[in-house]
Point group: C2
Chain length 230, copies 2
């Protein structure tokens, strides 16, 4: 049995959960509070971040992009035309560029702030930086998210999915980031119809269902969070 | 002819220059001041960051890790036992984990601060954030670098190269980050003999020579920067 060490609102963990769903891999989910720096967890991932994936025949595999490459290398060909990474080098460049965009740039500018300020700081002891949210950081994130929604809308003008004709890592990375912000009620969906329409399509995939069932202790999701027709 | 849009002290650009050297690819180097947000550059890489690689048969390929994957996919097999990415999935996991560590974590904690505060801010107009360096950021970087040197020393206890038996992306990523800090005189080499010895081996490779010849306008490198016996 495979195991995923994750946090329900960690966007990078959500990306891997979507991947596992698309591959049809059942994994035991272990909730990890990375900020607690548990020794056994640091041995698996010295960087101390979620997600970490592990299966019987592998050691610990840390990091969203590293896990994605591993899953493609060990199972991608068997996916046939449902493979989430194209076969041609420039198609792969575009998918990886967009994964970096959403898991890196969007996380640094939007979701990282939202999740840290609104969620993790509630559970962190004061000496590790816990406490009241920094409203300036939340305002910056809410401003920055509009640019990322607009970029999704721009990409969807000429494409069927974010990186091209087929569903890819790029869609799952973008949707994972947005889904964490959406749980917190911080996505202004009405600002971009094309982005909203694209998200509705990803959200209705079976791989998305477990994310929609997530509940974080003491924090209800936004009203429309689990609604497929939002 | 291939082209690399880079900055001489951008550690991610240096990583790609080392890769190109190992592959024996001649590329025209175009110095890009990413903070100027040149329109033609933003078309190649909407994220607005160096490096971007381009060759006749490809479009623009942005981002250090994306370029590395592209070079391996188009030329890796022809490298034989000099290939910089192992063939087995868990070997690849370890290489990619360490590339993330150095290009991501070490950059965020050390080299990103050093290069921004000491180099880029000299060339940036005030309205884009240019001006005097933030000494607190530089002090944080100088403190954090000791942990990364120690981690290299730790890895080298049981390995021939950082990720295992053979030279890989991991060595080039770590050396690229350190080389930028070393240009600025901010690597306390005497703190870790194993890390210093490993760096001397990477530094003596022919792929490293162009980096040692770099000079940034108005900023001399540290005294030992180009010295192979430092």
């Amino acid at each position: 049995m495979a195991t995923l060490f994750h946090h329900p609102l960690c966007p990078h963990s959500r990306f891997v959960r979507l991947l596992l769903g698309e591959f049809g891999i059942d994994a035991t989910l272990v909730e990890e509070r990375a900020f607690e720096r548990r020794t056994e967890f640091l041995i698996m991932n010295p960087a101390g971040t979620t997600p970490v994936f592990q299966e019987e025949q592998s050691g610990a595999i840390p990091g969203a992009a590293v896990i994605a490459e591993y899953l493609d290398e060990t199972r991608g060909l068997a996916m046939g035309d449902r493979r989430l990474l194209p076969g041609d080098p420039m198609g792969r460049v575009e998918v990886r560029r967009l994964v970096d965009w959403f898991n890196g740039k969007m996380y640094d500018e939007v979701t990282g702030y939202l999740v840290k300020e609104k969620v993790f700081k509630r559970f962190m002891p004061a000496e590790l930086g816990g406490g009241a949210p920094d409203m300036a950081a939340i305002r910056a994130a809410r401003s920055n998210i509009r640019y990322h929604l607009a970029y999704i809308g721009f990409l969807m003008q000429g494409r069927n999915w974010l990186a091209g004709d087929r569903l890819s890592w790029a869609d799952l990375a973008a949707a994972a980031q947005l889904s964490a912000a959406d749980y917190l009620g911080d996505v202004p969906w009405n600002e971009n119809e094309a982005a909203k329409h694209w998200y509705a399509r990803v959200k209705s995939r079976p791989s998305f269902r477990p994310l929609l069932a997530d509940r974080v202790l003491g924090m209800e999701p936004s009203e429309h969070y689990a609604d497929l027709d939002f």
